[in-house]
């Protein structure tokens, strides 16, 4: 269960143009956090921007929690201006997170900023294989690729411009590797997730996908963030990404 917390900013460094690594001192949160969970961070004391911003936990250890974020609008811009020593109003940890237990080799498939939360996940799994994709090599490294490499993991890389790894899509890497997979974990853009899910279902491999939706409450109270899911019997319903997810089993999601 999440809590409303005060977290002191230890660092907030630009790791690449428009990408920041925010390091927070919050011991309780660091102890509680599970890979795949997220925080809901207040970015302004004024009434605009009004809503909290949902951001995944990039890493957590000791008394520190890290968030890796990209500046895309007003809220993330304000967050990028936060200075060490300031105290942030942080709600979390939120969401269900990834199920770490499972059989066979774990393959992690990350695209773009979706690589960020996989770093925390990779640290909690036994020798996962990481398939990473991004627009270019710099972006890929800065959104968690470099960190995964430092962890000594097997990486397979695809970039749109071929500046790092193979030129192409990360899902092409998955097609080649999927036979080795015991289970798949994935986070990234919707189109990528859909293709990863399709492959996993086709090969009958358990696959956990982390979804993203615009959120208001982050705790399941507003029903603003739903996605279509289905039961084994095929009954469809609206599930809340914030509390029923953000991590869903691929075959539960209605991918249209």
């Amino acid at each position: 269960m999440g809590r409303l917390l005060k977290a002191t900013v230890l660092a907030n460094d630009q790791v690449l143009s428009g990408i920041y690594k925010l390091v927070l001192a919050q011991e309780w949160l660091a102890g509680e956090a599970k890979p795949g969970q997220f925080l809901n961070i207040r970015v302004s004391g004024a009434s605009a921007p009004l809503l909290r911003r949902p951001l995944s936990i990039h890493y957590a250890t000791g008394n520190q929690v890290e968030v890796l974020f990209q500046v895309v609008g007003e809220g993330t811009k304000l967050l990028s201006q936060v200075k060490p020593g300031e105290v942030l109003d942080v709600q979390g940890p939120l969401g269900n997170g990834f199920e770490l237990n499972g059989k066979g080799p774990a393959i992690l498939v990350g695209g773009g900023m979706g690589i960020a939360p996989l770093v925390f996940l990779a640290a909690r799994l036994r020798e996962p294989i990481c398939l990473l994709g991004s627009r270019n090599g710099q972006l890929l490294s800065s959104s968690g690729g470099a960190r995964l490499q430092e962890m000594g993991l097997e990486l397979q890389i695809a970039t749109d411009d071929g500046s790092l790894g193979r030129k192409g899509l990360v899902t092409e890497l998955l097609e080649q590797t999927i036979d080795k997979a015991g289970r798949i974990y994935t986070c990234g853009p919707k189109v990528m997730l859909r293709e990863v899910a399709r492959l996993a279902i086709e090969h009958n491999i358990p696959c956990q996908v982390s979804l993203e939706e615009h959120m208001a409450c982050g705790v399941g109270a507003c029903l603003g963030c739903v996605c279509q899911t289905k039961t084994v019997q095929g009954d469809k319903r609206h599930s809340r990404v914030c509390t029923d997810g953000p991590v869903f089993e691929a075959r539960e999601v209605v991918w249209e």
């Binding site: 269960m1 999440g2 809590r3 409303l4 207040r42 009434s47 605009a48 921007p49 009004l50 809503l51 909290r52 109003d89 709600q91 939706e213 615009h214 959120m215 208001a216 409450c217 982050g218 705790v219 399941g220 109270a221 507003c222 029903l223 603003g224 963030c225 739903v226 996605c227 469809k236 319903r237 609206h238 509390t243």
Partner: protein, 311 residues
């Protein structure tokens, strides 16, 4: 000794027969069925919780996207997603009933009969302290807003519910009308014990990249601090037009906001969007109202109701 006896300030209010320990409640659709925020704020600190809107049949709600942030506000088009009255009573009410605060059920329908039926079933099931009639939800095609903008239909719905339950009946008014006092008078004459206002303002946003409306439902309800001036104005107008108590809401984040509503004539207030921004808001608002009373030598919060116009 009762904790209340210690309090220097009397905070309890009577909202049309629902006795609230303090004037701060949470609004329908923003607080689920009362469980979601329980870890952040003990429900015992709240005057009441209004439940997510219920309908006769289950509703899966509108398509996504359902949310858009706007300057100091947000648009939502949830479309009354709810399990339906039967499943609610079977699966949710047992837990809801245990919440240590007053429970207001919020009901919507496509017909007068729907409203009366749902109200009756809720009373029969027990554990509900009051019924809030939502005649003003802008997010559903049939019913909803039509009832809320037409005084005759609003009165009809109110009377049907009134006749079918002994529970206190609150009617929730739409702000999307020319003269809110006209509707207010009509539903009070039809038997409303209290009024709540405002529901959301009808609004929309357009995505200039896709050149389409942001919300799948095209339009949605505007809430949050942006609407506060409109909400305070309507509470001010309605409070002077009718004699029943008012549950004021629209953009409340702080105790100062809540006090504006009370001074305008609200007996109690509800926090909606404010919970998303700050889950501790209801707690802070209660504490802030108490502090304000202490600072100003007010012994009973009831003295402040409508004080901006009552002379």
């Amino acid at each position: 000794m009762n904790r209340k006896d210690d309090q220097a300030v009397k905070l309890a209010v009577n909202l049309g027969g629902i006795f609230l320990r303090n004037p701060v409640t949470t609004s329908s659709g923003t607080y689920g069925f009362g469980q979601e925020y329980a870890a952040y704020l003990p429900p015992s600190e709240l005057g009441a919780i209004a439940l997510k809107g219920l309908t006769r049949e289950p509703k899966s709600g509108n398509q996504m996207p359902r949310l858009a942030e706007t300057p100091s506000g947000m648009l939502n088009s949830i479309g009354l997603q709810n399990p339906g009255i039967e499943k609610f009573i079977a699966d949710y009410l047992p837990q809801v009933r245990e919440l240590p605060t007053k429970i207001i059920a919020n009901i919507s329908g496509n017909s007068v009969d729907d409203y009366a039926d749902v109200a009756g079933r809720l009373e029969a099931a027990g554990g509900i302290d009051g019924i809030e009639i939502n005649i003003s939800c802008p997010n559903v095609k049939h019913g909803g807003i039509q009832f809320g903008t037409n005084p005759l239909m609003a009165a009809q719905v109110t009377k049907a519910v009134r006749d079918n339950t002994k529970l206190p009946v609150i009617v929730k008014l739409s702000p999307n009308v020319t003269d809110v006092t006209e509707i207010a008078r009509a539903v009070v004459d039809a038997g409303a014990d209290a009024l709540s206002l405002i529901n959301t303002l009808l609004g929309m946003a357009i995505d200039i990249k896709t050149r389409k409306p942001v919300l799948a439902n095209i339009m949605g309800g505007l809430s949050g601090p942006a609407v506060k001036p409109v909400a305070v104005r309507m509470v001010w107008q309605v409070a002077q037009a009718v004699k029943v108590p008012i549950l004021g809401m629209g953009g409340i984040l702080t105790a100062a906001d809540a006090l504006e509503f009370i001074l305008a004539g609200a007996t109690a207030v509800a926090i909606g969007t404010g919970n998303f921004v700050n889950p501790a808001a209801p707690h802070e608002v209660v504490a802030g109202i108490e502090a304000y009373c202490l600072d100003n030598g007010i012994k009973d919060v009831n003295e402040l109701i409508g004080a901006a116009w009552r002379r």
